[in-house]
């Protein structure tokens, strides 16, 4: 049997005040059995708003708990329930894709220096955390180098850990640019080992050294049939352009490379363009002329011609999610046959550059990063990267993996594209780098333990022998209060 008085109301009553003296003096058993509600009278009070509330008619001011209600018609939907405002179309996706680069609740890290042009080349800077200058942050944001999955949003300022692989890659990029050669390299490695972050660092280095940067943030946007495409008229074999995507790309290039473009002017006449752009007009004018998707591909070709003309700064062409552009795309030809990704004009431009067919005359780098989280199965690419990696390992040249003779899904075009690339395999960071990173976390106020050798090695082990993303998960993203 349930008590007649609501327990919550009982707790609110203070017996010394709420129960009048005459009730308390009637100390018989019968009196104690009477529900308090029936014996309740208003005490003297000058202020309380609660006491001034309208009394319940039946219960003398105390809430009598309702018994079990039998709800009839339980299958009828309660249409009057207020569910709040539904998010506007696209709002959820915008929230999901939101990139937050700064957090005022995080502590500013004392002694955190900004990256300068030469910092990423100095081997002494291995295992240091340096912050990205604000101007470069804007450029990186314009070229969509930041990813929503990276947790920039818990720190005061975007900062990066310079690991030994970073220094190595930047040195190679610098060497290639100096000799007017093109570094063609694929960054690969396990899940969340920092492949996209390495691309970001390469872009940072390029921006700091006034390179021109062209970035395709996600390979899948080009090949999963989510953007419009059309056959390029007069091309044989038929190539396809993606005008909307290219328009967006031109705008991103323009915005990110504004500083460099403002100093450059065109060296070619472009008679095919609808807008007349004479030789010697600023490059920004050419970039700005892309206003509509209709002629975006034409303008992109003109822009590319200008960027690869002699005497330009080095060029960095980067793409993340390589597996998506190394397979047959989801687009269909007019004959309803699947189009190979390499027949898409923009992808073709990247793949030819990567394979070495279209070298940059001013030097530079073509970087691609594989992805482990979002990557379709591409046996050819996997095999090619494994082969290149084995070939580039100094000692074990004899142990190059061979194609499976009983598998016929290999793709000749992919094989050709990846025949001569370099492969940089990322794995876990060293203990020293882990320590530096954790000290940065602690200085930012989000890691609330003492950073000593024990803590570092523990997180290093929990993160699968120093996989950065896993360390982050183990240390920052798991609530441990």
């Amino acid at each position: 049997m349930s008590a007649p008085n609501c327990l919550r109301c009982l707790l609110q009553l203070r017996p010394s005040v709420a129960v009048p003296r005459y009730v308390a003096s009637r100390s018989t058993a019968a009196a104690s059995a009477i529900p308090i509600a029936s014996a309740w009278t208003a005490p003297f009070s000058t202020t309380t708003a609660r006491d001034a509330k309208k009394k319940d008619k039946s219960g003398g001011g105390t809430h009598i708990r309702a018994g079990k209600k039998i709800k009839l018609g339980k299958f009828k939907k309660n249409t009057t329930a207020d569910r709040g405002k539904a998010p506007a179309p696209g709002e959820r996706k915008a929230y999901r894709k939101k990139i937050l680069l700064s957090n005022n609740n995080a502590l500013p890290v004392p002694g955190l220096a900004d990256l300068s042009a030469e910092d990423m080349l100095n081997p002494k800077n291995a295992a240091t955390v340096l912050s990205i200058p604000d101007a470069v942050v804007d450029q990186l944001r314009a070229s969509e180098a930041f990813k929503p999955t990276q947790c920039w949003g818990v720190f005061r300022k975007p900062s990066v850990l310079l690991r030994s692989e970073t220094i190595d890659l930047m040195t190679r990029m610098k060497g290639a640019a100096k000799q007017k050669q093109t570094l063609r390299l694929v960054v690969t490695g396990d899940r969340i080992t920092g492949k996209s972050m390495l691309l970001l660092q390469a872009m940072t280095h390029a921006f700091l050294n006034d390179w021109i940067v062209v970035n395709i943030p996600e390979g899948q946007e080009l090949t999963t049939a989510c953007t419009e495409y059309a056959a390029i008229p007069g091309s044989d074999p038929v190539r396809y352009m993606q005008q909307n995507y290219v328009l967006k790309l031109i705008q991103a290039i323009r915005k990110a490379n504004e500083k460099v473009f403002s100093k450059l002017s065109t060296v070619h006449s472009h008679p095919e363009l609808p807008q007349h752009i004479p030789v010697g007009s600023p490059l920004m004018q050419l970039a700005n002329s892309a206003k509509e998707a209709d002629n975006a591909w034409m303008i992109f070709q003109a822009l590319w011609q200008e960027l690869t003309a002699r005497g330009r700064p080095p060029l960095l062409f980067a793409l993340d999610g390589l597996a998506h552009v190394m397979k047959v795309s989801d687009y269909r030809s007019p004959a309803f046959e699947l189009i190979h990704s390499h027949d898409l004009a923009l992808v073709r431009l990247f793949v030819e550059s990567l394979s070495g067919a279209g070298a940059f005359p001013n030097g530079g780098a073509i970087l691609a990063a594989t992805s482990r989280g979002n990557s379709p199965r591409t046996p050819t690419m996997e095999l090619a990267l494994a082969q290149r990696e084995a070939e580039q390992a100094k000692d074990a040249a004899a142990d190059v993996p061979q194609p499976d003779p009983f598998f016929r899904g290999y793709d000749e075009r992919v094989q050709a594209a990846l025949r001569t690339v370099q492969v940089l395999k990322l794995s876990g960071i060293t203990k020293l780098e882990a320590r530096v990173l954790m000290e940065y976390w602690a200085a930012s106020g989000i890691l609330r333990t003492t950073v000593d050798e024990t803590a570092v090695s523990e997180k290093w082990t929990l993160g699968g022998n120093g996989v950065v993303g896993e360390m982050e998960r183990a240390a920052l993203l798991t609530m441990r209060l």
């Binding site: 082990t461 699968g464 996989v467 896993e470």
Partner: protein, 337 residues
């Protein structure tokens, strides 16, 4: 000299002199009976028997078989003579032989128990002065309980008697093993339980010549083998890194918990193989495996590991489904009709 021979003979026959007398008497009576019933028997055989009673026992023993061969012609000559009783012999015939029980406590209520108790007392009198091992170092033995003894002997042993007896047993057991006489060991054997739980000692884990210690752990249906070597904190599970093997951070922490609880994460490398069960089971099987291997390297860590909960195997398993229920405990949904 003759007396000595007689003694030896008696010993060979397995009887005392009194018993020999009795034996002869019975022999004679037996032959007398044969004479009375059969016709071919002769007085000479009786006389021979009478003569042989004073001779050596071996002669008298073979007499019953040799009689016919030796005295066949004499019996045919004396066949017509009347039967006469055998002449009086000088031997005193004992009519009753009282069997004496071997055990002195034969007539008590619990003879077997009393016998062993007396044996123990006797041993105690003889060897009570031998040096004993300190109390903590005595080999642990599970003795038969009072119930066991009552069951096996089938005697109603008193608890107080048992207590006294087992006290003696323990005192005798404490005699230093190098000096302990064989008799004591034999006497105590009867009091030992058939199955000795203390002798069921697991094989100690050793660190092999490569510096590896192999520990095996189980949890639910998972079995983990972990090879622990001194190192820098690298962990590989089934050829994968810890992060690849366990997606959940909690599981990773459980797996390396013995190292973490003793702050040895950066001192050892672990190479492990796990099979069976799910992720939680595998992770916690690893806990036990790593803890055991770690104890091989550093036995002094055992209390710390026990406090961290890494020493005892978790015996919980999936509860079986019962009839009349949907799962182990869940009752079927109530329906009105």
């Amino acid at each position: 000299m003759a007396a000595l021979r007689q003694n030896i003979t008696g010993a060979l026959r397995g009887s005392c002199p009194g018993a020999r007398l009795q034996w002869q008497t019975l022999d004679q009576q037996f032959h007398a009976l044969r004479l009375g019933s059969g016709s071919g028997s002769s007085s000479s055989s009786i006389t021979a028997a009478a003569r042989s009673s004073s001779a050596s026992a071996s002669t008298s023993r073979c007499m019953s078989t040799d009689t016919h061969n030796d005295n066949s012609d004499s019996s045919s000559q004396t066949g017509f003579r009347s039967i006469t009783a055998a002449p009086e012999t000088a031997i005193r015939i004992v009519s009753h032989a009282r069997p004496v029980p071997v055990s002195p406590s034969y007539f008590s209520r619990q003879p077997i128990f009393n016998d062993s108790y007396l044996t123990l007392q006797k041993l105690m009198r003889s060897y009570g002065n031998l040096p004993v091992v300190p109390a903590g170092q005595v080999e642990r033995v599970a003795w038969n309980t009072l119930e066991d003894i009552r069951q096996t002997l089938g005697e109603q042993v008193k608890a107080s008697d048992y207590a006294k007896c087992i006290e003696l047993v323990k005192r005798l057991h404490a005699i230093h093993p190098t000096l302990k006489p064989e008799a004591v060991t034999e006497a105590l054997q009867a009091f030992k339980r058939n199955v000795q739980p203390f002798s069921n000692v697991p094989n100690p884990i050793v660190v092999d010549k490569f510096g590896r210690a192999l520990g095996v752990g189980r949890r639910k249906v998972s079995v983990a083998r972990a090879w622990v070597v001194e190192g820098t904190g690298e962990v590989q599970v089934n050829g994968k890194s810890l992060a690849d093997a366990f997606g959940r951070v909690h599981d990773r922490e459980s797996a390396v918990w013995p190292l973490r609880a003793t702050s040895r994460v950066d001192k050892y490398n672990v190479w492990a193989l796990v099979e069976g069960g799910g992720t939680t089971g595998q992770a916690e099987a690893l806990t036990l495996a790593i803890a055991k291997a770690l104890m091989a390297h550093e036995p002094a860590l055992k209390p710390a590991l026990r406090r961290a909960g890494c020493v005892t195997r978790d015996p919980r398993r999936v509860e079986r489904k019962k009839h009349g229920r949907v799962k182990a405990r869940k009752m079927p949904t109530w329906v009105k009709r």
